[in-house]
Amino acid sequence: MKRNVDNAQVEEKDEQLEEKDERVEEKDEQEEPERDSMNMWNTNNICNCQKTCAKMMLAHAYVPWQCYDEAFSPQEALKKGTLFPSLYGAYPIPR
């Protein structure tokens, strides 16, 4: 920033910066906890699928955490072999 600008300009700029900061804060509040597309690591222990995983390392295998969202009825689950629609069809169903 130039040192020879007048006070008014400086104040204006400061105000703008403040506004910007507020907007950033609002955005932070609204944002979902940070997570990657595979649900592999997350800093927020809300549910198992958002669980913190140790940082992924090369030469290790990982499976995405399953989120408990929807469920079949008990009758349907016993027929299909899973309670979870998200696990039914994870591989093409053999007919």
Binding site: A54, A61, Y62, V63, W65, K79, G81, Y91, P94
Partner: protein, 197 residues
């Protein structure tokens, strides 16, 4: 210690006996990727797992695999119900009749008897859980091949149930591996050696 439930995990029905298919599906009884091997693998590996959660998971899935072995046994028995020696011979399974009559035996689809060489226990939780995940994948694909080899809708339905269980078990073993790797990373413990930070 187990509690025995006097019912199958899923009904086993066949439209009509089919000795040829019994000869094939017996591989899930005593073949390399069958239910006997699966149950013994998990019920044996549980002792060297580092967390109670992993031990519990292996106990649960190992127990369920015993229930699956029971379902496959019921299926093979129903597929051969009332079959004559000639029926066995026509199905290319005369050797089974000679040695076992209508009894069951743990073999693969080619008559090779079950062997402990099908399973492993390295005592290393990452190696063992990775083997378990591979085992679930191999069993899943074997069920897909078997479903292709039968036209009986009742048999397909029951095999599809077992197929889906393999997918679920893969997910659970994978989550367990996530946990174990995190657990071992925290302790900086690899291959049973603990290094204090």
């Amino acid at each position: 210690m187990w509690i025995y439930e006097k019912s199958l995990q899923h009904p086993v029905k066949v439209t009509c006996p089919d000795v040829s298919f019994a000869k094939l599906v017996v591989t899930q009884y005593g073949g390399p990727d069958g239910e006997l091997g699966a149950s013994l693998r998990y019920l044996n590996q549980r002792y060297s797992m580092p967390t109670n959660k992993a031990i519990a998971l292996l106990t649960d899935i190992g127990t369920e695999e015993l229930a699956h072995m029971e379902m496959i046994a019921a299926l093979v028995y129903k597929l051969t119900e009332g079959a004559s020696p000639k029926d066995y011979e026509a199905a290319g399974w005369g050797g089974h009749y000679v040695q076992h009559n209508h009894g069951l035996f743990w073999t693969d689809a080619n008559g090779v008897p079950w062997s402990a060489q099908y399973i492993a226990c390295l005592g290393d939780p990452i190696a063992d859980l990775t083997e378990d995940m591979a085992a679930e994948q191999k069993a899943r694909v074997t069920y897909e091949h078997l479903i292709e080899m039968t036209n009986d809708p009742c048999v397909k339905d029951m095999l599809r149930f077992l197929w889906q269980r393999e997918v679920v078990h893969f997910q659970r073993f994978g989550e367990c591996l996530n946990d174990i790797q995190e657990h071992m990373g925290k302790k900086n413990m690899w291959c049973g050696c603990t290094v204090e930070k």
